[in-house]
């Protein structure tokens, strides 16, 4: 058993059957080549079960949830609330703790804005207030979505931003954790897996340190919830954000899970219809969570699609998904590591490491690597992957990144390695 909690008792995924569920994997790309999609860390593809669920909603039930004195309105509400319960079960949470947002990015912003809104909210919001002298702690390996909102919170409130650094192999540097997490720390915002190096920080350990000092813990689960079992009851975090589109679900919907008592005391971020209790011209009161944080007509079709994605992933078994990706990652680390001139950013083993493999090639810029791979039908990401400070800390300007998911094969990993060799040959100095 590895420290990621993946037990040996897994069964292999039937990848050929899985691939048959994803219509897009059947299309040809440049030069009529088959698609080798290694960019699921950016967004995943959607199986027909998810597409059908969304289409069925629009075809049969479409209406504005939580409104309308009619049958369709009831059905839409049931579908939306059913999806909430389904997502809660997926992460072992409670349905009242699931807030639907536009994306993980918006979910993280929701918490950050609620914290500055706490300044003018009632006494129940006291624990969310930050100001001069308070500290907000992040890490150097964050995606911009879990960094910039906290920088902005500090700018709005006068709080101080601090951060964990990283080790040369792209893991979190915990050597000064006891100094960083102190009585001034109000919130610790940390990723559950780097989207660049794949490193999985010890979130539970950090959360315990933070809670001992009375700080709140926000976890960016965008690269975790899609890829391995995540149990919020065991995680130790106060908030967890993730996006549907990275876990076989639709774009346009994400999730904020938060502890019930915290959501209950937290002021709203986006305001408007659906989230109010009583509205007068002078002032309004708000509904309890989760509705308090869901202004506007709910994205019911997207929620239904996300619920179908949860069904799909649970049918595969998240332990099996994790084991499959771990095998692909190990293969990629071996195959790319064997090529002269390739530098892998991040841990070289799969211990506490997920399926994001970023690398640089001596003398070939990532954008050019990506272009050559694209020519071969291999889709990767090639830039700073919205983690510019992390790249700076690793001493590189940008990188090429391959990410894996349930539909990827070992043959595709071999194609990637061969493509890297071709790129090296193409750009070899004349």
């Amino acid at each position: 058993m590895t420290a990621t909690g993946i037990s040996a008792a897994t069964r292999p995924l039937e990848v050929a059957e899985i691939r048959a569920d994803f219509p897009i994997l059947g299309r040809a790309v440049r030069g009529g080549r088959p698609l080798v999609y290694l960019d699921s860390g950016a967004t995943s593809h959607k199986p027909r079960q998810v597409l059908d669920a969304e289409r069925d909603f629009y075809t049969i039930h479409n209406s504005a949830a939580h409104r309308g004195a009619h049958l369709l309105g009831e059905e839409a509400t049931d579908a939306y609330e059913g999806a909430r319960a389904r997502v809660a079960a997926f992460i072992n949470g409670d349905r009242g703790e699931i807030v639907f947002a536009k994306s993980a990015t918006e979910a993280l912003n929701l918490v950050a804005y609620a914290m500055s809104n706490a300044a003018t909210a009632g006494p129940e919001a006291e624990r969310f207030r930050v100001g001069p002298g308070d500290e907000v702690l992040v890490t150097e390996m964050e995606h911009h979505a879990n960094l910039v909102p906290w920088q902005q919170l500090c700018q709005r409130t006068g709080a101080t931003l601090r951060w964990f650094g990283i080790t040369p192999d792209g893991r979190l540097d915990l050597s000064n954790a006891a100094e960083l997490i102190g009585d001034r720390t109000k919130i610790v915002a940390i990723t559950y897996q780097s989207n660049v190096t794949g490193a999985i920080p010890p979130v539970g350990q950090i959360a315990a340190l933070a809670h001992a000092r009375g700080a709140l813990v926000v976890v960016d689960g965008a690269q975790s919830v899609p890829h391995r079992p995540v149990d919020v009851a065991a995680l130790g975090a106060d908030f967890l954000a993730f996006s549907a589109h990275k876990m076989l679900g639709p774009s346009g919907i994400g999730v904020l899970w938060g502890r019930r008592e915290l959501l209950g005391a937290m002021p709203p971020f986006i305001t408007g219809g659906s989230m109010i209790e009583v509205v007068r011209m002078e002032v309004s009161t708000f509904l309890p969570p989760p509705e308090r944080f869901e202004a506007g007509v709910p994205a019911a079709a997207q929620a239904v699609g996300l619920a179908a994605a949860c069904d799909y992933l649970d049918a595969l078994g998240m332990q099996n998904v994790a084991a499959h990706e771990e095998a692909l990652t190990a293969h990629a680390l071996d195959a790319l590591g064997a090529i002269d001139g390739v530098r892998i950013l991040g841990p070289l083993s799969t211990d506490d490491r997920g399926g994001a493999v970023s690398f640089t090639i001596d003398g070939v810029h990532p954008h050019d690597v990506g272009q050559l791979l694209d020519e071969l039908g291999i889709a990767v990401r090639a830039n700073h992957h919205c983690a510019w400070p992390l790249h700076r800390a690793l001493g590189v300007q940008a990188s090429t990144r391959a990410t894996f998911y349930v539909y990827n094969t070992h043959g595709e990993v071999d194609a990637l390695a061969e493509g890297v060799r071709q790129a090296q040959r193409f750009f070899a100095a004349a």
């Binding site: 810029h365 272009q371 050559l372 750009f427």
Partner: protein, 158 residues
């Protein structure tokens, strides 16, 4: 490979053996431009001179980090624009911009653009157009600033 329509040999030559690379003086304006999509960056200097009563490009130099397309494009830009009057250079720059935005449908004027016509293939790859334009846009910005600094802006505001 189809991609060779983009990575023309002349582009790879400029990438491997860039012109005017390395910042040098004297100069009238310096700018720093970044492509936020990929983090590519260029620091670029422009020096103007007087050419028969009209401002002209005395020198362009740059320091850059980026892909082959952005590096080669900056190199070709310096080779194409140094020595031209600002008026001529702005015309060439506009023609290059038009070529890059053509999605592969333009018929570029080789007499006007010189080696820069080699980037025609890049216009078929929308994600790379910003790479090709990075150095050119930095040049345009630096030149506008240099015209201000040297008091020649009024004549060139068209």
């Amino acid at each position: 490979m189809e991609v060779e329509s983009m990575y023309r040999e002349i582009i790879l030559d400029h990438y491997r053996h860039p012109h005017s690379r390395g910042l040098r003086g004297p100069y009238d304006a310096e700018v720093h431009h970044v492509n936020p999509l990929c983090g590519d960056e260029v620091t670029l200097r422009v020096a103007l001179k007087d050419a028969g009563g009209e401002p002209a490009i005395a020198d362009v130099s740059y320091d850059a980090l980026g892909c082959s397309i952005s590096q080669a494009s900056a190199s070709v830009m310096t080779q194409t624009l140094i020595g031209k009057t600002v008026r001529e250079a702005m015309g060439i720059s506009a023609a290059f911009l038009e070529l890059m935005q053509s999605r592969g449908t333009a018929e570029p004027d080789e007499d006007l653009l010189g080696d820069a016509v080699a980037f025609e293939g890049v216009s078929k790859y929308p994600a790379r157009v910003k790479c090709a334009l990075l150095g050119w846009m930095a040049w345009k910005d630096a030149t506008a600033q240099a015209l201000d600094v040297t008091g020649q802006a009024d004549e060139e505001q068209t």
